[in-house]
Symmetry: D2
Subunit: 304 residues, 4 copies
């Protein structure tokens, strides 16, 4: 593994814009361009917010190709997951063939697995991977957490180079960071509201949904941390968290709100993956009010 | 849909025996033979206990082919599930091509879906299915329950012909049975210990794990119900439930214990799907003691 | 412990009718009278459906006194629970002083306890109790389940004479019944829809909410079981379950629906304990429609 | 309500040391002395970590009296909770009579309540309280969360002057702080690892378990925040979090580990409330190793 090529720093998870059920290449590559111009260090595609587990193979393939082409040489991390190691190995292979930098590997999410079984699973995937592997800890979705001891074991595997921790347990996150983060192993904060706290705790690697839509917030936050400008840090921690509040609005799952907000910000179509449904217009109005209140919309934008 | 061909009655979910990671055709077809000889009305293959969601495609295909060949014309129901309708449509297609009778369709199990989205999903699968579709309600595994109102809506679809209810909520089960069970719609009890109560409540359709290993128990139970022989009913309800207790022993997920017990009963190899691990020998000893206590082992059988 | 005095058989948990925040003695004693006349073997008062944990001490005391007076010598079981053994000991003392037959003892419900701690807790309560003690297993409310092994341990205590199992796990219930039910230890089925199945499995002891409001259903069910009249058993299992469906209607907790239905049946005031709120009128209409559909209301009863 | 007397700032929740089942007044007052000397702004007694819901009344009373006497005029906040408003009103009365500053009020924790019912409950308690009331949001223990909208409603009550948020959801916490924190309403961070992030987000009010045992950590953290000394902030955020890790060790509930660690630090007896059990010696050894590794023990302290 070439350490200089590891994904690090600001690596936002981006939405996979769809039009008529197929990747909307134009808005998708425009978003990647915009993020590169904003100074991110890479992108995470096909993660949970990116609807990776719910997309058809052709959309996954197209997304990888477009992201790699648009990112201009920066790292592209690809979410991969299934119920068998074989499925994941094939996804990682496709990602590698298309020029992706690393794979973010979900545990299986139907059966509960022992930590030993989970270790075997990831080991098989990593053994056969042509690109480095990151662990994806998101137990609310998978039911299969990576225990800290399991991460410690898997971190010995030469191709396992990091973890995205999306649980939102700050004690656990700091424990991983203290015990494992190094030149060779990256611990990403996966919860937007905890990116500020994590930066202050010395963790400079994040995969933050808010950043995918509003990259300037995290970029300015990092600058403020560098300058020890506590007033700006305070203001931006609240701002990022306030956007996250909107991601939780109503009974819609995260990716649906994430895309609806992206649409309201003019970034691409709001249509979620099949069979999830577009929120109704009253929900769009509520999101619009929320974004307007935050000064993120000029004051009344058309619904996508 | 040809009503006379609908799966009905005793349709046990069978384990998918593996040897070196591939379907062990010999023990698998022997089990189907044994069940047919015991008088079952069909088999459910590749369900939750059958490790369907965790098996490689070639094993799934082989299992369908062997089951259809061995069952001698009786219905074969095939568990199908994935994150996209497309994946499930392809699985149903394979099942239909290989001669299966019906597909038991899981909801997606990564993202939570609204009931409307779930309805759209199943509708798309059913619209494109060449064989009838049964709904698979097992919220503990999928996080996506089929609300009763959703079942009522989907039951209007001409190709949706039934449901397997594996939740274990007897009130809900009886509600489904009362509101929906008919010549054209089959409501299967999917929880072994509730098969007795369901028979007594007038539901004659079951998919019962215990029956896959010890078919005589359910066959005798049905006979006793027919004869209003309450003493035998009582005895067999306890006996089936006592076997189920063994399925829960230790920290192993159901399919691991299910196969380990099948192995101890001499039915086939105990090896679970990758990456799940074979229980350790002390667990086999505990299962052996349990089976011996129930008179199901002559008294000390060798560990598989 | 005098075994002949143990509560056994049909022991329904009754609602605690309130008027202006105080026990409505008239409707409360009338309900007890009605149940005695219907042939029940005792009553459970101040359980979960009886709002025991949420009632002021004077109401608890009044309820015990009235129930003991009205029941005409039959057993009165009193729900007791708190966070310290001392609190429960005092509640049991009051119950004993007022002539109650046995105490149904909840585990503490704030902190999670180890099974050893739970055993110590119940042991202290039982050691100091002047009347026999029943264990109350209702983990959905307390977060502290009685593991089967713990019940086996506590059943050795001379004053622990039984358990009410309200979990709804039929495998566990049958296991308790097989392993522990005896002349000296009573295993009560606490889930209405499982009373039929439990009778058929040989368990003749129940604490069934439906019976408190419509005792004839369970009395006829038991008669049908005695006569091996499967058709009537089937019909009554469905009927009891259908009433239970109404207990779940809307977002109201069980005691609120339980009392609202009692009120619609003309048994007493529907007002729940403080601070729970009376359902709105549209909910009463929905309950009314449900009861009318079941033939339990003449067709349009006034809202309480 | 006298705003100048509101509890604010560093208000750690302290353990209630017991000896032979009674308050160990000596170590309890010594701990309060020690915290006052360390510069805290008050103490929270009889909270969750302080075993308030599990203590006998005489111990609760003694703890209030001793804390008020030892704290030298600083605020004493008293955890209060029960199943009826009446119970809580009496607890608040006792607290007020003994000179406590404010009551931290739990919702009932047996029945689930609607937000309207919860509002009525707290309103009744606050109406009748002689001292200000803080809301206690700890849904993992009570099952009854205070929705943000409910807090907004209750904050209009003149005697409801704040909230302790122990959920650990940083988005929700910042929302409360932004929307409600004022001269008249205090929002306390109740999760130790989030105290650092909260200070940086402008919230200067905390109730932090770690501080009760090691007050210098939070005092230094606050100083570092005041001085914008990011390196020290980083170091102390990790240190506080690392102590919290030890609170989670093994299968023991928080108060048991909390007291065991207090005992190892020489602060008082480790014996938890009845019926919880003292951890076994191997657990004490593990805690000792953890504390030694953090430099908090000279290297091998005797087990309490």
């Amino acid at each position: 593994v070439d350490l200089s090529a590891l994904p690090r720093g600001v690596v936002p998870p981006i939405p996979t814009f769809l039009d008529g059920g197929r990747l909307d290449e134009k808005s998708y590559s425009a978003l990647v361009d915009r993020l590169r111009a904003a100074g991110v260090d890479g992108v995470l595609i096909l993660g949970t917010a990116g609807e990776g587990p719910a997309l058809a193979e052709e959309n996954r393939t197209a997304a990888i190709a477009v992201a790699v082409e648009s990112i201009g040489g920066l790292p592209v991390v690809v979410g991969c997951g299934g119920q068998t190691a074989e499925q994941v190995v094939r996804q990682v292979e496709t990602a590698a063939d298309l020029g992706a930098t690393a794979a973010l590997v979900l545990p299986p999410f139907y059966y509960p697995l022992s930590q030993d079984a989970l270790t075997r699973y990831v080991t098989e995937v990593a053994d056969r991977a042509a690109i480095p592997v990151l662990l994806y800890h998101i137990p609310a979705m998978t039911g299969n957490p990576f225990a800290v001891a399991t991460v410690e074991r898997l971190h010995l595997h030469p191709k396992v180079v990091g973890i995205k921790d999306s649980q939102g347990d700050f004690v656990r996150f700091l424990q991983l960071q203290r015990n494992l983060a190094s030149e060779e192993f990256v611990v990403f904060q996966g919860v937007a509201a905890l990116v500020g706290p994590s930066l202050l705790a010395g963790c400079h690697d994040s995969m933050c949904t808010v950043t995918a839509l509003l990259p300037e917030l995290e970029m300015e936050l990092r600058e403020a941390v560098g300058a020890a400008d506590l007033e700006t840090i305070r203001m931006l921690m609240h701002r990022i968290s306030a956007v996250t509040e909107l991601f939780r609005l109503g009974a819609y799952p995260l990716p649906v709100n994430f895309k609806a907000i992206a649409a309201l910000l003019g970034l691409g179509p709001g249509q979620p993956h099949d069979p999830a449904l577009l929120p109704d217009s009253s929900h769009y109005e509520e999101l619009t009010r929320g974004l307007t209140r935050l000064g993120l919309l000029p004051g009344g934008t058309s619904v996508p």
